[in-house]
């Protein structure tokens, strides 16, 4: 089963991902706080990290940079895919940073969560149809 971490300071969005994720057989863990999410990733592996960009005090770009930095320190572990989620305008700078960090997709809010989850499953075909319990 694909494992996804969703980081969005909006609790409603996080809950939506959890509920829809369960229906699409994507194991989803949600956080509203960047520090807690990074702590979780220190001890757990996920396949995809879905990051809201507009957050406070730590924005999504900083979190993404930190994730890649941590991955460089653990070369034996697989890299996770990152998806940016934003209601703000997707500027050239965001696109350049996304490219540099190897971000798989940038979604503009409101995004079609079921479509995003189905697309995520196509990135991991071997894991897509494996059953598992959702957290």
């Amino acid at each position: 089963m694909i494992k996804a971490l969703v980081l969005d300071d909006d609790k409603d969005v996080s809950e939506l991902f959890k509920v829809i994720g369960a229906n699409h057989r994507v194991w989803t863990v949600t956080f509203t706080n960047g520090t807690d999410a990074l702590k979780f990733l220190d001890n757990n592996l996920v396949d995809v990290v879905i990051l809201d960009l507009m957050m406070y005090p730590i924005d999504g770009l900083t979190i993404a940079e930190q994730i890649r930095l941590n991955e460089e320190n653990r070369p034996d572990e697989p890299r996770c895919e990152i998806v940016f989620l934003t209601g703000a305008e997707i500027t050239d700078t965001i696109k350049r940073v996304a490219e540099r960090l190897g971000v798989r997709q940038i979604c503009k809010k409101p995004c079609e969560i079921p479509n995003l989850l189905e697309e995520m499953k196509s990135w991991f075909p071997e894991k897509a149809n494996v059953q598992g319990a959702n957290k």
Binding site: M54, P57, D59, L61
Partner: protein
């Protein structure tokens, strides 16, 4: 020029009318004419209607007050949410500006290095 009648005045007037109707309707005289009976019944009806109107006005007033309080609460929540979003946007803008400055610095450094390599080979 219209004159606004205050709520307590309306309530007092209505209560007075209801009281007058009640008193006029409670006449003890055994030799009552048809007219007296008629006016007594009218008194009952007017009194009842007045009390009914007061009750409806009270219920409507309470409902209106609650609806206004809910609308104010919703407006306050929306305002808070907007402030939060503005703050998040400003935070992201700060990061983007920082990255743009860093990108500019790296591009200048790259150009400098290219120049230096060009001079070395040339």
């Amino acid at each position: 020029m219209t004159r606004t009648i205050s709520k307590p005045a309306v309530t007092t007037l209505a209560t007075l009318i209801a009281a007058i109707c009640a008193v006029s309707a409670s006449g003890q005289d055994s030799a009552q004419s048809q007219n007296e009976i008629f006016f007594r019944n009218v008194g009952y009806i007017v009194g009842l209607l007045t009390l009914l109107t007061l009750a409806v006005a009270a219920i409507y007033g309470a409902w209106k007050k609650q609806a206004l309080a809910e609308a104010n609460s919703l407006a306050a929540t929306r305002k808070e949410k907007i402030i939060e979003l503005e703050r998040d946007k400003a935070n992201l803008q700060l990061k983007i500006s920082e990255l743009e400055r860093e990108t500019e610095r790296l591009e200048k450094r790259n150009l400098r290095l290219q120049d230096e390599r060009g001079k070395e080979t040339g």
